[in-house]
């Protein structure tokens, strides 16, 4: 057998240089926007109240950023495949109620119910793909289902987390506040899973151009189910983290997470359609929104205005991104 290599490799490693000079700068700016907004918020806090920048202060301010970040990651999976989950907030409430009651008193039942919740999420993905119904319709319906179940399980605020969960969430790492460690772990894990693995590329591609993925022989049903199931898993994590921190549950505890999670994904550089998302950005976005509340407190803005002020931050960041994108398009 003659194993002659076909042809010669004329060009071994051609050095490729990006053409126009301004575009990389613009793209860097676009990518840096989430970190930049987080830095601005932190600088604002440090300037108004330097003592808040201590180990304890950061711990207190960022604590609730963890469940928010987890819910934001859940939302991000759904947004990756061009859908929207309006039910994530009440799902977190539902999980919270299960965690504060059954998971403590009857661990097997608790675990089974939580797994059931993930299975319902997977089913939602299948229904949305097979029946071609808008995800907004399906998840809007589920919003009320989770809400109702949460009230059934825990009509009055109360309950208690399992001790192991409470201990985990109040774990103290030396030197670095635990929420920061947790945020980095979440961001890196999801980044590797979704952005670096080979199947992650297929999952994101199914949001960017479903036809192309289908034509290459991949199952779009499977990608949809996987993404929704992952959203369910991170919804469960979010509920666990939330109850571990607050030590008791309430049927409305996660209500704000629906809009907060969508805002976090977008603030972190994600787009509503086209599969363009960033897990690291999403975590940063969630932390930014959490810290924005503290910043507004330090600025002595009454809580009545805080939601509006958070909206203002969102508008400013998105406007900046739109401007960068426009310039990018014009120079191309």
């Amino acid at each position: 057998m003659n194993g002659t290599p076909r042809g010669q490799d004329s060009s071994a490693n051609v050095v490729r240089i990006a053409k126009s000079g301004s575009q990389p700068t613009l793209r860097f700016l676009r990518a840096a926007l989430p970190s930049l907004s987080l830095a601005l918020v932190i600088l604002g806090i440090a300037w108004l109240n330097p003592r808040a920048m201590s180990y304890l202060g950061l711990n207190l301010m960022l604590n609730l950023g963890i469940p928010t970040a987890l819910a934001t990651i859940a939302q991000m999976f759904v947004i990756t495949v061009n859908d929207l989950d309006l039910s994530i907030g009440t799902f977190v409430s539902f999980v919270g109620c299960v965690v504060a009651t059954w998971l403590r008193d009857a661990p097997f039942l608790g675990v089974a119910v939580l797994l059931g919740g993930v299975a319902v999420y997977a089913l939602m993905g299948a229904v949305i793909y097979l029946r071609n119904v808008p995800s907004i319709v399906v998840t809007l319906g589920m919003l009320f289902v989770w809400q109702g179940l949460a009230i059934l399980i825990l009509p009055k605020p109360g309950g208690k987390p399992p001790t192991w969960l409470h201990d985990l969430m109040n774990f103290h790492v030396p030197y670095v506040p635990f929420p920061i460690v947790a945020a980095i772990v979440i961001a890196v894990l999801v980044h590797v899973g979704l952005m670096r693995t080979s199947y992650g590329a297929i999952l994101r591609g199914s949001g960017g151009n479903p036809n192309a993925i289908g034509r290459a022989g991949w199952s779009l049903l499977k990608t949809k189910i996987v993404m929704f199931a992952l959203a369910g898993v991170f919804g469960v994590f979010s509920g666990l983290a939330l109850i571990g921190l607050t030590t008791s549950a309430d049927a409305n505890i996660g209500k704000g997470y629906t809009l907060l999670s969508i805002a976090g994904v977008i603030l972190g550089g994600g787009e509503f359609v086209g599969g363009r998302v960033s897990p690291i950005g999403a975590v940063i976005g969630a932390l930014t929104l959490t810290l924005a509340g503290s910043l507004l407190n330090f600025m002595r803005i009454s809580p009545d205005w805080q939601v509006g002020a958070q909206g203002g931050i969102l508008i400013i960041v998105l406007a900046a991104r739109a401007m960068i994108n426009q310039t990018d398009r014009r120079t191309r």
Binding site: G7, S11, S198, G205, A212, A216, G217, G275
Partner: protein, 489 residues
């Protein structure tokens, strides 16, 4: 290793219907190992449908398909990949949110595990270097950030990459449409190189020169069937054009002569296409039916839309003297209001005339609807029924009624007769002629040759430019095809 010529794929009597439209009418088609087959045909001849059948993305309604000598039941996109049949679709199938390397991975399930990015990048990078030396594409760029020509290069290079699955046949649908002549040349040279190694290509292009110079065999499609097939040496440009347009110029349907010759009535529209310096100016006079011809997607719809905008706003290069109404081509998405009744759908363009005070008068609306039901002959027991209760043809008639019932003196038609049955078409043709004689002006983009014969004047579009200006007596199928297809690029 000179093997006897073996069919890589063979289609026998393949038919495909979309609703009532027969896209493929019993096609027999085969590709042998180591040959490049050129596939040409005018709009709607069935080339793209045939290609989708080969790629496994459309399932034929009847007929037999043999791949690698084995009859294939349940042929799918996945099986096509496994059997080494690749396709470069006209509308690009890259994921814009993924990098170049990641897009290469999409096609190759075997690239997985540790270091997959490097391997995927090396695979596509090597192929890009081989086909388009000096391409200047960084492999970690997100595809959406690249210009359209670069994306086409990636898509083409990706189709030629090989991992576990073999590569037997690459189908290229208009692969050079977004490439400049230099890169197009690189690609076509590569095609010949690949064919020399024993793989095959199907090349679809509207540049007849490309087809004639680079194919071994040429298949001409017309009306969903193979009209001619021969060695490439047996064809020349004129022969191809004749085969695409039918054996002899069909005798034109006699339409009553118009009373006034062109130029005796005032000009209603004066338009120049994007490239001001080149191309021909479009003129439409009162009482004229002006046809816009050429291959689909060559700027006809854009021209109609800019005329529509110019009626209410000043635009450079466009003069429109009178109110305009547009009949959309995609009836379902741009035409009808699916939740409204037929009467409401017809009246919406004339709302100003149907008012009493600030409110819409249902009485006037009903009268208006009844009048137009009779004029265009909409078959329904009650005009208050939902518009979707009508057949497709009757829905289209309702859209014509909407435009013709308005005060608009100019009616723009964006290929509105697609998927409409022939009897409805004939009714509408007569209606258009009657309205034109009454002084209306029509601008009619159509992809059907038959319909152009109803026009007084035809402009042929190519690459967003008007390349031919044909009077009624100059119009023939050959002339239109001749102008639509460019000389060698």
């Amino acid at each position: 290793m000179a093997e006897p010529s073996v069919n890589i794929v063979r289609l026998a009597g393949v038919e495909k219907y979309f609703g009532a439209v027969r896209a493929l009418a019993g096609v027999d088609f085969a590709v042998d190992a180591g040959e490049c087959v050129g596939l040409v045909g005018h709009n709607g001849a069935g080339k793209s449908t045939l290609m989708h059948v080969l790629a496994g993305t459309l399932t034929p309604d009847s007929g037999q398909m043999t791949v690698d000598g084995v009859p294939r039941e349940g042929y799918s996109a996945l099986l096509a990949q496994k059997l080494g049949i690749r396709c470069v679709f006209q509308e690009l199938s890259l994921c814009p949110n993924l990098t170049v390397a990641e897009n290469a991975r999409v096609l190759h399930p075997t690239i997985a595990g540790w270091g997959w990015r490097k391997r995927a990048g090396a695979l596509i990078g090597k192929k890009l270097d081989e086909i388009f030396p000096g391409h200047g594409i960084a492999l970690d760029t997100v595809v959406g950030d690249l210009a359209i020509g670069k994306r086409q290069m990636i898509e083409v290079a990706r189709a030629f990459t090989i991992t576990k699955a073999p590569l037997h046949l690459v189908i290229l649908d208009e692969p050079t449409s977004s490439l400049d002549s230099h890169t197009a040349g690189q690609l076509l040279t590569h095609v010949r190189r690949v064919v020399a190694t024993g793989a095959s290509c199907v090349l679809i292009s509207h540049l007849l020169g490309e087809i004639l110079d680079h194919s071994d065999r040429i298949v001409v499609m017309r009306d969903g069937a193979v009209a001619a097939a021969d060695r490439a040496s047996g064809f020349d440009r004129d022969k191809l054009v004749t085969a695409m347009g039918g054996a002899a110029a069909a005798k034109m349907r006699s339409v009553q002569e118009r009373a006034a010759p062109r130029g005796s009535t005032p000009v209603r529209i004066r338009a120049r296409t994007q490239n001001r310096s080149e191309g021909i100016e479009l003129l439409a006079h009162q009482g004229e039916i002006v046809g816009l011809a050429g291959l689909s997607g060559h700027g006809q719809t854009e021209l109609l839309l800019s005329v529509f905008r110019a009626a209410t706003r000043r635009l450079p290069g466009l003069e429109v003297s009178d109110p305009v109404a547009l009949i959309a081509g995609d009836r379902q998405s741009d035409g009808i209001f699916p939740l409204w009744s037929i009467a409401e759908n017809i009246g919406i363009r004339s709302i100003a005339a149907l008012r009493r005070g600030p409110l819409i008068s249902s009485e006037l609306e009903d009268q208006f609807a009844a009048r137009w039901q009779k004029r265009v002959n909409i078959r329904t027991p009650d005009m208050h029924n939902n518009i979707l209760s009508l057949s497709g043809g009757n829905q289209q008639k309702a859209l014509f009624a909407r435009a013709l019932g308005s005060e608009a003196k100019i009616v723009l038609m964006d290929d509105p007769m697609r998927g409409v049955d022939i009897s409805t078409k004939l009714e509408v043709y007569d209606l258009i002629r009657a309205e034109a004689n009454a002084g209306r002006t029509f601008l009619w983009y159509t992809t059907e040759m038959e319909e152009l014969k109803n026009c007084d004047h035809v402009y042929v579009f190519r690459n967003s430019r008007i390349v031919a200006d044909l009077r009624r007596d100059e119009l023939s199928e050959e002339r239109v095809i001749q102008s639509s297809f460019q000389e060698a690029g």
